[in-house]
Symmetry: D2
Subunit: 307 residues, 4 copies
């Protein structure tokens, strides 16, 4: 299939959508990103990759980082991780406390904020400090994206903390139920930092490749995680990857994926490729408006889907 041609077509067709949606404004540092940007990249098993748009432009990966921290924590804790976080869609907005109270402090899944903060908390326990945890996450991200160095944006991280009352409330609520191990501030700071990591679509599509190929990086041959875990991470992306629009995404796109409020989305087509798309304008669910449509166009044009 001529993937470059397909990406070029999508790029041409998507332009009217770039002015729609709304850039995340809950923290000032994200609100400044110009809206009319778009990039899309895909990586194949043989290392060939295709891109269109601003695919070198770094952006805040935000909740996409949750896929990587979940993978890391699953490798460290194995099934014990599920004592602290579930794998069920929540049916509620990403930062809701309601379900968490009814369900005694155990978050529904690792991709809503509460669940991701829990996962970060397990990593802080493992690595021993905020600094070492960020280092561990960075090392892992460099490994899977074949990068030498990656950074988080300290301004975004600080801005996130400054407006982090909701996340601190979630952490405190979990702590009140005994589902928290470290200092609340330290864990939420760690969480804010890994959300503030900046990458571009080329790097992100490369980083997702192991998840499209049963846990093993098909280019380097390195085993990143087990086939069983890779399969399960894809399953959780499909059912829970887009908050309370996860069903819509599965329905319209039909791929395991994870979005971030920075406008990025990553996705896998198991045994075929990994993808990343970016456009900062968000739809009402907090997922990239143009990015979601671009992925839908891609699965329609290629007739690739897991279903």
């Amino acid at each position: 299939m001529d993937y470059q041609k397909i990406l070029d077509e999508i790029y041409a067709e998507i332009k009217p959508e770039l002015t729609r949606g709304k850039v995340a404004d809950y923290i000032p540092a994200l609100a400044e990103v110009p809206q009319e940007q778009f990039a899309m990249s895909l990586t194949l098993a043989d290392g060939s990759f295709y891109s269109v748009g601003d695919s070198k432009q770094k952006f805040s990966i935000q909740s996409i980082s949750k896929v990587f921290t979940f993978t890391l924590a699953l490798d460290i804790y194995s099934k014990d991780l599920y004592k602290r976080v579930g794998v069920e869609p929540s049916g509620n907005p990403f930062n809701s406390l309601v379900q968490l109270e009814y369900e005694h402090g155990k978050p529904r899944n690792p991709f809503i904020n509460a669940g991701a903060i829990t996962v970060t908390d397990t990593l802080v326990s493992h690595y021993g400090s905020e600094e070492k945890t960020i280092q561990g996450i960075m090392d892992f991200l460099c490994l899977i994206s074949a990068n030498e160095e990656l950074y988080f944006d300290p301004i975004v991280a600080a801005s996130e903390m400054e407006h982090g009352d909701r996340n601190l409330a979630l952490a405190r609520l979990m702590r009140s139920f005994g589902n928290f191990e470290n200092d609340v501030h330290e864990t939420v700071l760690t969480y804010s930092k890994h959300c503030a990591i900046t990458m571009n679509t080329e790097e992100l599509s490369r980083a997702m490749l192991f998840l499209a190929f049963g846990g093993t990086d098909p280019i380097t041959g390195k085993i990143i995680t087990s086939p069983s875990r890779a399969k399960r991470i894809n399953a959780v992306m499909l059912t829970c990857g887009h908050y309370d629009a996860s069903g819509e995404f599965a329905f319209n796109v039909g791929l395991p994926g994870k979005s971030g409020v920075g406008g990025g989305i990553v996705a896998t087509i198991p045994n075929k490729m990994s993808l990343s798309v970016w456009s900062p304008g968000l739809n009402k669910y907090g997922n990239s408006h143009a990015g979601t449509i671009a992925l839908e166009k891609f699965t329609t044009k290629t007739e690739l889907s897991i279903f």
Copy 2:
């Protein structure tokens, strides 16, 4: 792959599980089914099929019928159907009214009771009466399962109506929000009857074949629904097919599927096969205990999964 051998293995391994779980007892007619029964069937595109256990034993398909009514309604109403029912996981038990009230009478998806009753209501509007609707559903089921005649169990349907207060409450609540077109009693009766249809695992795996093959029955060549709709029905089965254990099922089994409180489950492996399993003992979420485990064993042994 030697499917018969795999089914035989599963049958041998599953025996200790047959005493676990709990037969549905919310209506007397279902509570009488002996628990220690098991059957599993799969159908391939070339018409070959494999079975193990009581695969000729008919049972009440219950919520599995929702897959077929959803398919029918989608063909009749196309996208307009989504004005009345969503495609999002609910995160709540199958018969909850809470979300329905908060969301002004529009059910989250066609597989929770409220959503399925809405779908039935659209069918009653289309066919014109309870009797003609049941006939329409039966004709469709005969078509897709290559059967000449199928029946519903009138005792189960009557028992369902007698204990149908919760379903009537759901219907009334939707009606109070203007999301209901026919007589409440008539629609819920129609719903109770199609839930009371009896089939065995051979028939059910056969009936699901078109959904595994893009909407076209690969044996007869008949187009049952469009590729796009088949893909979307599979997506909704994956995200919403097992109530508030849908995430767990996707996570552990990794296939689009739909369960019923009669102990049946249907599933598809897109482009490969369709399956059905049955064992009456249910887990705490109302899904077949042994059936879920059997499917998990099947995807583990065959390494088939959509992820």
Copy 3:
């Protein structure tokens, strides 16, 4: 105190408020009532009474009837009544199903719709039929209001049934939890009829007199209910009499009271008097806008309050 002067003052002051608020429009029969009407009446222990405005104009008493059915049921069932309905404020709108589902079909109090329907259900069980129940309620109302004959408006009752889906949903939901004894339709019809009783403020203030005087009608000397029950009915009016604005009413007016969507309100000042006020325009909580203000003016001017 010169009560007539105070009522006259209130009448003069209240005029600008009569165009505010909004006449109940959930059933057509109520929506036709002209908005700019007002009446207020009070009755003292010696039989003297004072009125202002359209105090002979009959209106639909609606939820005010719940005070009388609760009194009747309490006399019949005594403490056993509390097995089926509580006495706690609900914190939710009058017709919400949410709490009822969480709390397994037991309504919070007898003044939200679910609770009042339960009370009516106990009366239907006691009297044996819808017709006899309505007769029993009417006889009771004639007794306490010193009337020879009272009526319900059959058009309002029919209109109420026609738009009664929410009430039928509440009844069905309670039935699904085993908290319902009679035919759902029959009980909700009985409920709709007693809500459709028409009275004026003179009759209503007279009817409430026994509750202001420890259960005994101070004019006739008849014991209507025990002192302990009268006290408790007043307590429930204070904490639950105005749905999710009960706190505001206690805070601003400081009297036990009960409102109806027909625009009527009744209230007691224990050991002093009973009152009724009427104006059809409702505030956002479904309580009479001008009526609430009039009562607030009354307690301010007279410095009468239970606090």
Copy 4:
């Protein structure tokens, strides 16, 4: 009326109840209080007072302090206070976050934890620091209880902070909605300290006297608050003073009151007297078991009630 005789009777009758209930154990410092203690005191307008039991024994006043901080804040902010906190019963447990999220960070009333923390936040804004706020509250309490000095228990306050995750979560959640002015830790520390104030029933009944007499201390003649505010504080105590058992308390006791998890309860009988009772064993709603029964006995024996 011979109040001493009545208190003595209650003391004799209440003994079997003292072993029932359960001492608060959510913080270690409270869990150590011996359960079988009881005291009851009442103060009349002429300064005469009556007591029974351990009426000199100081205990942690806990949520009773909310009545005093509410009074203080109402005098400082007048109606503006209601922009930040409502006066409606919550229908939920004292520390629930659910309603707070649905209602965008505005607590239902000043007596649930969220509301009381908001009130404390307004006081910290007014006084300028945690230390000065505690001093302001202490001065006010000394004034109204005719004491020269009062203390908070630093061990209880510290223990409260150590187990204060739920309160910090509530504060954070309100802050995320913009309904918080000071440092979260500082305000919650201030709150924990005023909850840790220790008083006995004699002091508490004396401190409540102004609320029973329209805001003016009848003994000293000092105006503590306006008649209108006194009336409203009583109304909020009646509808919201006992969390989700406020209806039951109004129903069974029939007096405005406020309980604390230290086992204390205060109550007023407007224009007659103020009361305080104490017994550490709590009922399932977190209110003193024997204390509630003692007040119920008091209103039954004296036939005093607001209804």
